[in-house]
Symmetry: C2
Subunit: 394 residues, 2 copies
């Protein structure tokens, strides 16, 4: 029984009937005072209505509530989609008795079906009535789609003896594959900060967390990461020391959530860190890491617990990064399995096969031509993945 | 019982013992007279030794034989790899009593294991002894790896009452996914042509066939398409009419083989044409087509026979091509399912679901902003794919 809290924030969730099986599918996050806010969103050209609305509203740098539903992405829903997104924020604002411009909205689920807006309208008053300090975990459950477990992280730190808190929830399963399910993340903190500071901090943490589990730009139509800072701790980000500690804590919270998302990768049985070093540049290293991390052949070999390093080096070779195959080394954890572009023999393969039986391991590819490096988290591609995604809507 | 022939060409195949289960794994194609020759090869930076050797030898524009093995890719095999590739051509040249510079070599199978060159050495004399006009089909079988069926096409045309022949064999399963098994294709023809003419014709046909079933540059370490023209028909490519007819025939032969490869996609149950029209440019259309054709979410939805067009438009949206979602139309065969970026309702989805039950269908995405177009063939992503690729080496 975790009791996640964040001073000055209340949450609530309920079953509005958007999902099929009567499980929770609607929620609200509410700050008791107007907060500064920032967000990062999908780079997909096809953006869901709630994403478009939030991007517009966050230009003010302010927000006080987020209403979120699962079961329907409200994406590719024509003009009605924006009408419905606006309605959602209006219902919430009206029940919360705040300016609707301070309400953000997020949706996740199937693309292309009209939102059952009446069900949401009916549910909002009860939702607001049940707002509570202690229901972050329930909200994290209500935003799940193909997730097998809910994802929450809360951390507290002290600055000059005064505590501040970051409490965050996320949903998403298997964003390591570029176009899988939507990722949502909502971060509440009680620090006092300007919108600019918040945006900069969020981008920094996002680059070190969610952006290491997906290919740049290869995002779903609804991906949203939103942070609200309500200032109730009284701790200002007005000096280097406090700003640094906040950044470190925020990075840490998002990295933990990102790992949970990979571990919950649709059907995944293994969490694999792809670690590229000594590439021609960081950019090249990232290209190689992403190509390996998204290779179906590599990912099925992980599932088969087969140290088939040929697939790894072949993926690196087609990544469009500079590479001299004869200089490449590959390690499975600390087992050297490829040197000078050729295998190290049967005994090292046998050892590497043991590494592959672990639930978590690291593949290091040393390109041997520079100092560029990158790390990407991925998972295996399994029979279960196909079952989940072939049957998703049925 | 097809009797594939090509005048002046002999082939042979046998079991050298490179594969585990005693099935044929070695073969030779031999032209009774030196032929002009050309090839196109993988763009992967990691190139197998036989690929590197062939690229070098084909600079002469001449060849008389190809020795090919399955069961081992002779890739990432350090310096020994090139030694072994050279040995293979030497054995063949010596038994055939021709210049070794006129012998090309191809290998396909597992990466990173040393080639059992002694087994090949022992097998070559018998192979040469058994050369026959009528064994193209057996050779096509001997080069298979994960292929479920062998792939051969032969066409004959007449120019001024004189016939010429193109007979080709290929192997490969599921190149629609960028990094799957190696593709090999060997084309024999009895026309008389210069190396330059041959190279140009091969590039043209390759662009319209094998390059429409894979992402540009995303090729395996061993991909090779080689053509030999021995001139025994006496038909010269010295005028527009004959050159055009030859090109058309060659395009046709390679397109047929490419379709066979997709139909044999590892574990595939459906052949799907992704047809993009009215994009901003042909290049953009190709980006969109490839992103859709390689999306795991789209491919599993095909397998699940679910008209989940949201995944198709979302893949298009992350392809980095210009697009205005509100202008997009999507058809499943002739069923309009998306218009102005939104769904056309349940009745059209029900009709589209019926299309998805067919073994072959076309998805047309009309981007609605220009005149660019592209077509890519793909297949579904199935449970069987995972099983094949998780167990490949075991």
């Amino acid at each position: 029984m975790d009791k996640l809290l964040c001073p000055g924030f209340l949450t609530s969730s309920c079953t509005a009937g958007l999902k099929k099986h009567g499980v929770p599918d609607l929620g609200i996050i509410y700050s008791t005072v107007p907060a500064t806010a920032a967000g990062v969103f999908t780079k997909n050209l096809v953006k869901a209505a709630p994403v478009i609305l939030d991007m517009k509203r966050l230009k003010s740098g302010k927000a006080q509530a987020i209403i979120v539903n699962s079961g329907n992405a409200n994406c590719c829903t024509a003009k009605q989609g924006m009408v419905d997104a606006l309605e959602m924020t209006k219902y919430a604002a009206s029940s919360l008795n705040i300016d609707k411009e301070l309400v953000l909205v997020a949706s996740t689920g199937v693309i292309g079906l009209p939102l059952a807006i009446d069900k949401i309208k009916k549910a909002v008053p009860g939702l607001v009535k049940n707002l509570s300090k202690e229901s972050f975990t329930d909200l994290a459950k209500a935003i799940m789609t193909t997730d097998k477990f809910h994802k929450t992280v809360s951390e507290q730190q002290n600055i000059n003896g005064k505590p501040f808190t970051i409490t965050a929830i996320a949903k998403g399963a298997g964003m390591i594959c570029p176009d899988m399910a939507t990722m949502l993340c909502f971060i509440c903190t009680d620090i006092k900060a300007s919108p600019d500071f918040l945006k900069k901090s969020l981008l920094h943490a996002n680059d070190r967390s969610f952006n290491t589990i997906t290919v740049d730009g290869d995002t779903s139509t609804n991906d949203s990461v939103i942070i609200m800072a309500n200032g109730v701790s009284g701790i200002c980000m007005d000096n280097n020391k406090s700003a640094k500690l906040f950044q470190k804590t925020l990075d840490d919270v998002l990295i933990k959530l990102a790992k949970m998302i990979v571990r919950d990768g649709e059907g995944a049985t293994k969490l694999v860190k792809i670690n590229i070093c000594n590439a021609n540049s960081d950019k090249d290293a990232k290209k190689i890491a992403n190509t390996i991390a998204n290779s179906n052949l590599v990912k099925t070999a992980f599932f088969g617990e087969d140290a088939n390093w040929g697939r790894i080096i072949a993926a690196a070779g087609r990544s469009k990064a500079l590479m001299d195959p004869d200089k490449v080394k590959i390690f499975f954890d600390d087992i050297l399995i490829v040197e000078n572009g050729a295998g190290c023999g049967e005994s090292s393969e046998l050892k590497a096969n043991k590494v592959l039986k672990l639930p978590e391991f690291t593949i290091t590819v040393d390109i041997g031509i520079g100092t560029g490096k990158a790390t990407v988290l991925t998972c295996d591609l399994t029979l279960e993945y196909i079952k989940i995604n072939a049957d998703y809507r049925t």
